[in-house]
Amino acid sequence: MNEIWQGLLEAIKLIVSLDPEILEISGRSLWIALSSCLLASVICLPIGGLIHFQRFAGKRTLISLIQTFYSIPTVVIGLFVFVLLSRTGPLGGFNLLFTPTAMIIGQMLLVIPIVLGLTISALSGIDKVIPDTARSLGAGSFQTAVVVLKEARFAVTAAMIMAFSRAISEVGLALIVGGNIKGFTRVITTTISLETAKGDLELALALGIILMFIALVINLVLNQLQTR
């Protein structure tokens, strides 16, 4: 139990002293997770809208399928991206394996189902009166979609918070496609796993606390956006 106390002290020390290596690793974690979530949102918001507003056969099945992918293990996505990006793989020519870009791609694939699924749920929660009113006031289908999305922003932001949490906290994918290279693809979670393997439990715990701290800051920022 002493380790937890020591870890907390170490975390405070590392944060206060602005340790350059910790700053770099934390910055990388944050940047990779944010980029992947942003990319996923850019892709998923329109598609989510499309799925919600269109009527087609198999819609329920498609949504169930998307929701099933919430629980895909990070190592499985990691393995998939590894095989895809490995030099002998179909996208090997881009030479992306063991780079931060590969990690962004992987995390993006990881959170796409979450953003997509929760966007659809968010849109479903909007009162039917709103799109009807928009249409009756002469809005086109794009404008109607924008109105509904705006109305659903609270739940959509929640989807992004969820996606960000999954991205920044995962370790399996980051290890497989990033390779945990010092100063290049090493992020907080892979450092925790390495330091635990090395037996430096205090540092590992301290990093865990720092990750939670980053998550808190991001949540506060997104909450601000939500209430706007």
Partner: protein, 282 residues
């Protein structure tokens, strides 16, 4: 909402630019190294020295010998430094590697709890394994991950006259940890068990463990580390020139001396014996 879309789109473009610029600024050489070399901390010293000398970014990826060889075959790394002679030779015969350059060696040892429940202290590795099998008095934690150390363990079992598959099913005393060397030592420590480890990693972790060296005799226990450049003729896209630079760097007198002295001050024993240029049957 439209503004938000424009905003995120432009942010996305900027992020893309940052990502690609980081990806392409410098030549990067990727080396996959066995965990037992990485866990001793040797690479964190060699990396800046090499980068300084050749003005190249060196990416060190630590992985067991099995997966390191796989990375090599797929062309995902340019050099591998591993310790499994048979697998290395197959790697070269299959055309994936250019040449095997042994650059350091040390020994494996069996470590265990000071109480030595199976009473194997001072035996040879093969005798010790026979006794573990016969009595089931001690717990043994195996790496179980196809690493160089795991392969060595299998070789000792076979030399002792056992089929490895029967060993795996021998009973609850035989545990396959599926972890790197450091975590395996910690697991053995928690379980008051025996395990096979390389000298270097054990010395590095010793202060955190109650385990003591138990068996260090046996000709099977020699542990040779080699560097192999991946063959660009078989695996296109390999950074051959820089790969050769890394191998000459490891074999250079200056670095050989550094490897030989590494850890003496900190751990009180020599972790690696330099061996570049030494003709060896291993």
């Amino acid at each position: 909402m439209k503004r938000l879309i424009y905003y995120s789109a432009s942010l996305f473009v900027i992020l893309g630019m940052i990502t690609s610029s980081i990806g392409c600024t410098a030549t990067r050489l990727k080396v996959a190294t066995t965990t037992s070399l990485y866990d001793t901390g040797l690479w964190s010293h060699l990396e800046p020295m090499f980068e300084e000398k050749y003005k190249v970014e060196l990416d060190v990826i630590h992985a067991g010998t099995g997966i390191a060889l796989e990375y090599g075959k797929r062309g995902d790394v340019d050099v591998i430094t591993v310790h499994d002679k048979a697998a290395e030779e197959k790697f070269i015969t299959d055309g994936y590697g250019v040449q095997r350059v042994p650059f350091a060696y040390n020994y494996f040892l069996i470590v265990g709890p000071p109480s030595d429940p199976a009473d194997i202290k001072g035996l040879s590795s093969e005798e010790a394994f026979k006794k573990l099998m016969a009595t089931s008095d001690g717990i043994f934690v195996s790496r179980g991950d196809n690493s160089g150390t795991h392969t060595k363990e299998k070789a000792v079992w076979e030399n002792a006259g056992f089929d490895y598959e029967t060993v795996r099913k021998a009973g609850a005393w035989y545990i396959e940890g599926g972890k790197g060397m450091g975590p395996t030592l910690q697991m053995a420590n928690e379980k008051k068990a025996y395990t096979l480890t390389d000298m270097g990693t054990f010395a590095t972790y010793k202060s955190k463990l109650q385990l003591v060296p138990t068996v260090a005799k046996g000709s099977t226990l020699l542990n040779v580390y080699s560097a192999i450049a991946v063959n660009p003729a078989k695996v296109p896209g390999v950074n051959m020139d820089t790969a050769n630079n890394l191998i000459s760097f490891l074999a250079s007198p200056e670095i050989q001396k550094f490897i030989g002295n590494y850890g003496i001050q900190e751990y009180g024993i020599q972790l690696f014996i330099p061996s570049a240029g030494v003709k060896s049957t291993q």
